[in-house]
Symmetry: C2
Subunit: 307 residues, 2 copies
């Protein structure tokens, strides 16, 4: 293979209580890497995908992941490729953009090598990039690669578990017109948490997994309750509290911050309900003085794919 | 109904990482309450079930739960019963003895009243007793009442979720010949835990739930990893560390402390494997200078029943 084009969907990190350990791939917007094998060594960035993204391959998520994939494939110093990123996901939006870019780079490199790498190596390659640009966690990478809802059981060694999602689950994503850097969103996380909060949080994550298997969208959304990250991140997100109240009032099964924000996500049982929730959230942000971009979508069950 | 006889199985609390939120009913030993309606008011204890258990109905788990059930059934001051407990579970053993006694009292009272109470009220009545004698948690009560594996999503309001267990799951219980009071086992729990430990623990609980639905006994046992309670309780339990090593070496899928101890539990994929693990654990305790009682059993899927 001389060239390839890989599309990777965005994702909701945390999915409420699942800080760092639960992620959900979302249909629609995603990042695309177009990659071409060339002579020489290493990975070049022909198009970084956005003026604010670096062209330095040691700092660009797709290129870091591609290089890590080449290394894992035993091609260090013996393989060269050029990458162009088509950025479909917002920067610093909390929609898994850096993870999607990383996964796309890793998968593209794997395709060009003739696919020597399996899922664990692809996760590992993308994690190398995510650790550099956003933090060492897999909760966006794993669903972006595999599709659907994924539980991260362990990072060392990497062990991820795909969980079924309830049929008929609709997702509202609302991105207010401001950014929040992942690093800032992570810096406010407490190092210590109360044992009682930790256990309550664990029970919610387990309840979401159970509701996924039991195919119960309402119970799935009901367990979206985050006592660790949301309380400290919400104050960084003007309008979030009002928008969340509006979402729940409009019938959302559950609502929280996507990743480290600023995107809000809400869960619903039908397209009509999701549309109504999206409108209510948009009005709430507007009343708080912020424009917002609303997406009404569903789960992406495919993950990374060649296009 | 003038008399009834209710049997309630023991249970493993926590089931490893599920401190306070995950419990598993175990076949075999249990507590039995024989109850008789009588004239007058209130609950009398005719036989406390053990010389070390109080006959004061305000301090006996079965009687406290029975009175709470009468109150919830609207019979406060208008209904009287006498209770005798046949204690099949060890005291302060970590096998859910106080919870089984409480559930038996609540169910017996409900039967004598003509069954006005549903599951939430029975859980609430038994919880009133458990809170008095052992601590306010449902992870023994809920599986003892309902059978099987139960996740406690919330205490306030009470919300419990039954989770399937993998077929062919065998359980080894080993009780060394010393006691550990639940209150002592709880007093060492840290008030604060590291966020990273909290999230890892949550991932293990979620992985156990997923393995239950996926019918994977090995993965179920593999996720039995407790970074919150076991590290601080194990030092109170002479021989536990050696016995756990022996269990894992003998092929256990997972091994931890049952409830707050001293009983150890190990999970296996067959009766033969469980028997071998039991022998290895017994030898390890013996080398550490402690006799132990070994039970090889399976999941109790029934819970409380009239006999």
């Amino acid at each position: 293979m001389k060239t390839t084009r890989v599309f990777v969907p965005g994702s909701i990190g945390n999915v409420g209580p699942g800080l760092d350990i639960l992620g959900l791939a979302v249909r629609g917007a995603g990042d695309t890497v177009v990659a071409e094998r060339r002579r020489g060594r290493g990975v070049l960035v022909a198009d970084a995908g956005h003026p604010n993204l670096p062209t330095d391959p040691h700092r660009h998520a797709s290129a870091i992941a591609a290089q890590a994939a080449l290394d894992l494939g035993g091609r260090r110093g013996r393989f060269a490729m050029t990458i162009s990123l088509i950025k479909g996901l917002p920067l610093s939006g909390g929609q898994g953009g850096s993870a999607a870019s990383a996964v796309a780079g890793a998968v593209a490199a794997n395709v060009l090598m003739g696919r020597p790498l399996g899922t664990p190596e692809l996760l590992s390659a993308a994690l190398a990039a995510e650790a550099t640009v956003a933090g060492r966690h897999l909760d966006n990478i794993a669903p972006s690669l595999l599709g659907g809802l994924v539980l991260i059981r362990s990072l060392d060694p990497i062990d991820v578990i795909s969980i079924p999602t309830p049929r008929g689950l609709w997702i509202v994503l609302a991105k207010p017109a401001y950014e929040l850097e992942t690093r800032r969103g992570r810096s406010v996380l407490p190092r210590l948490v109360r044992r009682t909060d930790a256990l309550h949080q664990a029970a919610q994550i387990a309840a979401m997994v159970a509701a996924g298997f039991a195919n119960d969208a309402a119970r799935f959304g009901q367990a979206v309750e985050d006592r660790i990250a949301e309380p400290v991140r919400a104050p960084l997100l003007p309008g979030f509290a009002q928008a969340k109240r509006a979402a729940l009032h409009a019938g959302a099964f559950g609502c929280s911050i996507s990743g480290s924000g600023p995107t809000l996500f809400a869960l619903a049982g039908s397209r009509a309900s999701a549309t109504a929730i999206g409108a209510a959230v948009s009005r709430a942000y507007a009343r708080a003085g912020h424009r917002s971009t609303i997406r009404v979508t569903t789960v992406d069950h495919v993950g990374a794919r060649i296009r």
